[in-house]
């Protein structure tokens, strides 16, 4: 018998059960579908259960008492299994459809969700054409679990930068092409931000309702949007650098920092900008992107740091 047929039968049985049923009872009801050999039958049953649970089927299991004391019983509560009525109006359904076709995450999760809420997936435009605006969000297989943990207020534990962390998730933030988990790290008793793709290995989830999120907590506000503003404890004598940018690249810097960052303009069109440099490494990455079309004027320590960096490249050659 094909596993799909057997597992569908198992599902109908557990959904119809009015009480928890044991493995022996299941085997008896689905006669001939599990192997004769008890060990092989048990292994096949475990595979089926695992398949159902991986697909999100909530199989409830309890250790029974009475004349079945010590054996495990299984059933599926319809209230836990079934998706409630979402009752979307046509314009709401259309908006969700556009959202899923416009925001891509490299997975079929969104389309499968639309099927369940009974929205026709597919192109967002009339006439079946592909959408003309598409945003690709980064995706990480641990994000759904972190999202569920956040919604259920479950503590999570994982390894990060070689250390074990126990975190109460307060928010998830997609910024600059990365996902961040922000939460209270119990290991250090402080608020911390973790880049999700840098979490090592699996995420373990604790019990639900384990904490509350502080009133007014704003995940966007907890760390600066410009990494150059994040202090890195390297003292360059100032938090803002004066950078001379060639005329050819002034437009790019203007688009990033606006006219408010202009310190002075020179006759040849080159311009001095005031650029945050609290985080020297982030500043370096930004500055060196201009190659020879930008130069640090001040602070002197930062200028010398750039010279040292460049000379170290020459020294290695």
């Amino acid at each position: 018998m094909h596993q799909l047929e057997r597992v569908t039968n198992l599902l109908t049985l557990l959904l119809s059960a009015r009480r928890h049923v044991t493995f022996d009872e299941i085997r008896n009801e689905l006669r001939g579908q599990y192997p004769e050999n008890l060990v092989a039958a048990r292994a096949a049953f475990e595979r089926d259960k695992s398949l159902l649970r991986d697909e999100g089927v909530p199989i409830d299991s309890v250790v029974l008492g009475g004349d079945q004391a010590g054996t495990t019983g299984y059933r599926i509560l319809r209230s836990e299994y079934e998706l409630g009525d979402i009752d979307l109006e046509p314009d709401e359904a259309a908006a969700l459809r556009v959202a899923v076709s416009t925001i891509r995450m490299g997975q079929t999760w969104g389309v499968e969700a639309l099927w369940k809420v009974d929205i026709e997936p597919g192109p967002a435009r009339d006439g079946g054409a592909a959408p003309v605006v598409v945003a690709n969000l980064p995706v990480d297989p641990r994000l759904p679990l972190l999202h569920r943990s956040l919604a259920s207020r479950c503590e999570v534990s994982f390894d990060y930068n070689g250390k074990s962390r126990e975190v109460r998730p307060f928010g998830l933030l997609a910024r600059d092409g990365w996902w961040y988990l922000v939460g209270h790290d119990r290991s250090v008793d402080e608020l911390r931000t973790f880049r999700v793709d840098r979490i090592a290995g699996e995420v373990e989830v604790g019990r639900s309702g384990a904490f509350t999120i502080p009133e007014g907590f704003d995940v966007s506000a907890v760390f600066p949007s410009d990494p150059k503003l994040l202090p890195d404890n390297v003292d360059m004598g100032a938090d803002v650098a004066e950078v001379l940018v060639d005329a050819s690249d002034v437009g790019v810097v203007m688009a990033q920092y606006g006219a408010g960052a202009v310190v002075s303009e020179r006759a040849d069109g080159s311009t001095v900008f005031a650029i945050p440099c609290s985080n020297v490494r982030a500043f370096d990455q930004w500055l060196l992107g201009f190659v020879d079309r930008a130069e640090v004027l001040s602070p002197p320590l930062l200028r010398q740091h750039v010279v040292d960096w460049l000379e170290s490249i020459g020294a290695r050659a």
Partner: protein, 317 residues
């Protein structure tokens, strides 16, 4: 010719659990329409539904899932087991909420209120009481809306595009086909009328644009992955300190090679596609003394040559 392997059981089950309640609600549906809705072939659909029609708590025909399939249509009788879809899985819920949250940020999006209401309803059904804990920051430049409208209408746009390679701005006439965001940058994919070929332009490097009136019938087909045309890129091998791999994280096509060559202890060999020498200069300056080019030979001195070039700005030879 490649032959398709068997479809995985978990995917077939997942699809079945969403198809059965959908079918139960409709009664009779043409096989072609149903296959199209669920993105399947008609033979696959018929195989899965035929198998489902043999499933139930027992083999008594009264206990089987009440459906039958003929060549033209699928007929559903009395719903017994799968009256409602399975609740959304964690990935589906995450995807729906994240897509909707992100789509709300799109400039020019007229989804507004409908999307907000849809997100609230979905969140309520999922037991998520505060969707605002998940934030997707998606900055959409005002130009996105203009290029999207031009793509919908097939009209040409004259742009002034700044080249990072030369630092010059060049005027081009393009017909936009798609506007997309990837790794935190927005791009417009278009037919470049000057060269008669597809080109992709980063939006923050378009200094100005003027939407014209002339219409063109353009079909560029689906977008290809970055660097899918090997003629346009050079594969570069870099040896580097793995602690600096974060600099490369944002770039596509980076692979860590399992080669053993003489190099500083613990360094790794990385290969990646490079589209221009200027781009590689920027990368090598950012990596500093933590990396060096091994191949192609013509670029092995590029880092030190570029560092010397920049040092002249600082009065160093």
């Amino acid at each position: 010719m490649t032959r398709r392997g068997p479809r995985p059981v978990n995917l077939r089950l997942r699809r079945l659990l969403v198809m059965l309640p959908w079918l139960a609600e409709r009664g009779t549906v043409s096989t072609a329409a149903m296959a199209e809705h669920f993105a399947m072939t008609v033979p696959d659909l018929m195989a899965d539904l035929t198998l489902a029609s043999l499933c139930g708590v027992s083999q008594d025909p009264r206990d089987l899932i009440d459906l039958w399939v003929d060549e033209e249509a699928v007929h559903f009788g009395i719903p017994k087991y799968f009256n409602r879809p399975l609740r959304l899985t964690a990935p589906e819920a995450f995807s729906l909420v994240a897509s909707a949250t992100a789509a709300r940020n799109l400039t020019g999006s007229d989804l507004g209120g409908a999307l907000n209401r849809a997100v609230d309803k979905v969140a309520r059904a999922l037991g998520i009481d505060d969707v605002d804990r998940l934030v997707v920051e998606l900055e959409t430049p005002a130009a996105v809306a203009d290029f999207a409208r031009a793509a919908e209408a097939g009209v040409e746009v004259t742009i002034s595009h700044w080249s990072v390679t030369t630092g010059d701005s060049v005027e081009r006439r393009i017909v936009p086909a798609e506007v997309f965001m990837e790794s935190d940058h927005w791009y417009v994919r278009a037919l470049d009328l000057g060269v008669g070929a597809e080109r992709t332009f980063r939006l923050d490097r378009i200094e100005s644009h003027q939407v014209g009136q002339t219409r063109h019938d353009v079909d560029l087909g689906p977008r290809r992955p970055w660097f899918s045309d090997p003629v346009e890129t050079t594969r570069v091998t870099i040896e580097m300190d793995p602690a600096w791999m974060w600099v490369l994280e944002q770039y596509p096509g980076v692979t860590i090679d399992e080669v053993t060559t003489p190099r500083p202890q613990g360094w790794v060999s990385v290969s990646m596609p490079v589209s221009s020498e200027r781009w590689l200069q920027r990368l090598l300056l950012r990596l500093g003394s933590h990396a060096r080019v091994r191949a192609p030979e013509s670029w092995t001195d590029l880092a030190s040559d570029t560092a010397r070039l920049v040092l002249t700005r600082y009065g160093k030879k």
